[in-house]
Symmetry: D2
Subunit: 337 residues, 4 copies
């Protein structure tokens, strides 16, 4: 039973149907097709404000193109020490930005706070010997499946703006966060000060497209060139655009995230005091002690987490996870010695 990653899940019907339906010859290639042209409107409606949207082929590309739009090569980006852009993108932000630096700040459960950002950047100076902080990147939901509230985002974004930094949100699991919060999508993004959002779809039932959403259109001016130059403007762009439109307009984003969040909540209840982080999205971090082998023998796949021998493990619930798998894992958690 696969609890390794939501990345291995299937594609939800609405998205797959949209791909199939997009298979008609069009008058023009790249972004000249009707689907691609509708992207801005679809997301503008969703967020309740005018957006400029680009489809890209991976979360890494979305994040890196976003950051390259926000900081110069001598810039720095503040993020959590465990952020995906730092840990798991093979230096993509450095590549796309021309060598900017990530400045790592701490915070419980992979969440930054104004205090942790203040502390983590206290030693930075404005002189020419140092890179210059130009952006803050928040992950929503975080690497530990926790979620920033609109107020928390606003506090961090407000701090960023007061210092002249731009605000990016890595929303690889944005739908899961949104479902947890139950708020309007605008509340936790542009209304709270986010300027650019990597809006993930793939982990939550999508296939091969993520949306890069600019709430401040002036920041998107160079993006078309950077995107093409990065090999991220496919000639049959309609297949990616169609996925994103279906994902948003059909409500699949919500239904899928509700399913995986719900499964995670059931696991959390079963894990009880063994939880190492609050469960607010679809990831469950559990102190399984020395039960790893036993759980694997029972057929569960998952990642050990933290330092070797820490006894911590990560279980990710996918949107298409079967009910009985959740039940089985919950029972296994309850039976942990």
């Amino acid at each position: 039973m696969r609890f390794l990653s939501d990345n291995a899940a299937s594609v939800c019907p609405e998205v797959m149907e949209a791909v199939v339906a997009a298979n008609v010859a069009t008058d023009s290639a790249y972004d000249g097709d009707p689907w691609s042209k509708r992207l801005d409107d679809t997301f503008s409606d969703f967020f309740g404000t005018r957006c400029r949207v680009f489809a890209v082929s991976s979360g890494t590309a979305a994040n890196s193109l976003a950051l390259a739009s926000l900081v110069p090569p001598f810039g720095a980006i503040v993020c959590h020490r465990e952020a995906h852009i730092e840990v798991d993108e093979c230096g993509a932000p450095e590549f796309f930005t021309g060598g900017a630096k990530l400045l790592l700040c701490d915070g419980d459960h992979a969440k930054l706070t104004p205090e942790s950002v203040a502390t983590g950047t206290a030693a930075m100076r404005g002189d020419v010997h140092q890179v210059q902080i130009r952006a803050l990147s928040l992950t929503q939901a975080t690497e530990y499946g926790t979620v920033y509230s609109p107020d928390e985002v606003a506090a961090l974004a407000g701090m960023a703006k007061s210092r002249g930094w731009r605000v990016h949100m890595d929303g690889a699991r944005f739908s899961n966060a949104l479902v947890h919060l139950g708020c309007h999508p605008g509340d936790v993004t542009w209304r709270a000060g986010v300027e650019v959002l990597s809006f993930g779809a793939i982990k939550n039932g999508g296939m091969s497209a993520e949306a890069l959403v600019f709430f401040d259109e002036s920041l998107a001016e160079d993006l078309p060139f950077r995107r093409k130059r990065a090999g991220q403007m496919p000639s049959k762009g309609r297949f990616n655009a169609a996925q994103l439109i279906a994902y948003v307009e059909s409500g699949a984003w919500q239904r899928n995230a509700a399913a995986s969040n719900g499964g995670a909540r059931r696991l959390a209840a079963a894990a009880g005091a063994r939880l190492t982080h609050p469960v607010e999205a679809n990831e469950v971090f559990v102190d399984i002690g020395s039960n790893g082998d036993r759980l694997r023998a029972q057929g569960f796949n998952f990642y050990d987490w933290g330092a070797a021998g820490s006894g911590e493990a990560r279980f990710v619930v996918s949107w298409d996870q079967r009910e009985e798998e959740i039940t089985a894992l919950a029972a296994a958690f309850a039976a942990l010695e």
Copy 2:
């Protein structure tokens, strides 16, 4: 009637079916699925030699990652003055290589010759004040729809090797070239000295994946890192791998290219002396003089080519082009005054 670009064509049934069929949850994400793991074998069988293959999301990404594997930042790449990597990739090769240069050589019908390469590189020196040529990039079929024979490739690749240059082939329309040549795929690639091939599928019935094929596996050592770092390793890699496997194994590559090449030949016959380049693949360049408006009024879409007012136009036949569209355009050509 769309003769603008094969990029706007539909996806062929085999490829689309493979996408649909790949929609099962898998044990692991990225390239850990069965389709991705089969890529090397599929292409190794096709080419008759052991290959290492990577799926990427665009031809620009394929070309640029290939070149970044072959040349250092202070390197140079010899290509035709009208090569796609020079003209239409928004500087992607420069981005991926860390700033290498393209050295432009001439040649009729967008084909390089040993002589034109010798002439075009004669002024380059080995001293430290200049970038150092480290690779040759050939386009097959070329920007003008012409095709290098195995002997022509071998002559150019032999010249390259004697000078210590690596050999890359941009095969965005490789299937069209192969169908024209009627030879074994290995004859015009690795047997002729090509070390890395961008094997295009999208223009010829594919959806969103191109294959980057290394015939010399040692050159692929860094590629996985460069690919991830470029945002070109999607988490649901199986959908891309499945497209490429279907494209190659079903024979769709051949049937589709035969269809578009055949359509182009019919157009070529009708255009007769107005052709400005030999028609060997699926592109037809015609001197339409001042008939542009008339042809467009008849419902034909195409690009004007060359300098403004040159009277030259490009017509690209897609694999799914309807018979009657070909017939209509052929008739229109025959009726040109």
Copy 3:
């Protein structure tokens, strides 16, 4: 007798004395010393307008930092096909800009004209598939020792501005051009539309510093960071600043350039019809036919130029060239068969 390059000449007394005089301990390092602080004033006086000036350690660094300030990574820079930035800087502009492209235009005697620029850039489009022209770079004096008049610069810069391009001047031999023109330094730079100038000193009696001059201070905003990041902000900056101040304020720039220009004129008179380019600065290009070995046997060092066997040779006169060397070479020219 060395006519290979003015790069091998000695340092003039004023510059060397300034270096020695700067050898006092200072209160602060980098650019905090009195010499560095005076740079802007010195050059502002010289040019008759407010400038922002940075000392760098080579012409390559000056040019590349200038261009990186003017164009984004997806930008392009128009220059002459034989410009130093294209031919002899090992791809430094590509490195510093993050992979921008140079677009090569033609023109007699290495001089661009509005017509040649229009022709050379006619095929460039504004769409996302191509790099975007953002700057024009002129070389003054050119690679062939010819000089743009203020009107010629103004025509080219005006054309650039009308298209939204910035204007850079590579003035590795700017003093030689200025002495030839006899005009005010502002006339052929900022008054004619030049925004950034690489003002060379090293070839004309300097030691190890070139000046990067911004006439539009707003363009210099990022430069301090780019310069530091490139390793071009030495800790004992006063030694470089002192050289530049002495070079400009003492009038050495003028006396030295007058000397080398004068020597070149004498050689030009002797070479007569054998000249392959007008002699307007300190470089003399001569068709020496098959006399190369003979001239070398007479003790003259120089570079063969152009294609192998072309019979063309380049003779550069240095500011400290001895009178008798000029006389001897002039006599040798006169005696050529």
Copy 4:
């Protein structure tokens, strides 16, 4: 009285005389002169092994070019959290390497240990989602004026080699470290496993040249191109080479470092228990509590260190520091309440 930085000190007589003596016209520019040609021999004699040496214009350039020779763009470099390459070079290593990352490890007094490196890199994996560690960079003397013994270097370098990492030493204050150790220069470099050394001269009586020393010549293969491309190959290279030859051959490196180390020792004795780091080179870190204003009122210039209000201050002794300045500061230390 300046205790801000040894960077603001004067140039020692031997170096300045060498500059003046190098002012003769030479046959060829760049590195073709007799001084540049002698660099390898001079340093090979000094280190007791064959070296390949390049003069560059700053420590930042030396470090960054070294690292670019050792790691690919997707590589990572292990260094101390407070290393100069991390803190004070405006992202130059990222720029020169094409976006590699620095991995920060801890250690008392800015010194790494095998344990701190093991801990700091424990979470790094070899998979494609992460940058790959390819080099270790040690600073000798460290940012806190402490010195690695040959055994300490050997232990760290041995660990690095066992993991396939290259070893770089940032020796901005290498002479100070060497004088402290009293060992042969080879003992703490190549014999201990260092492969590339940034050998600083400027802080210790030099003017405008640092030496980049390759003990493994095969690693230097690309360096000439990278150096030229970075604008670090000046046309009158003899002035830089001459400085470095004089610095090494005259013994100025030793005399100057002995002077500043000696001054620092006197200050250390006076500071006593207020020292926050051992004094092993020419830097003295003192807990001055709330005496900062008083010391400044007495005429001492220095930097506050650490977090605001920490009470820590840094005093750097220069090679040319006047005896009475040391005496005065020592007295002031002794009088601290």
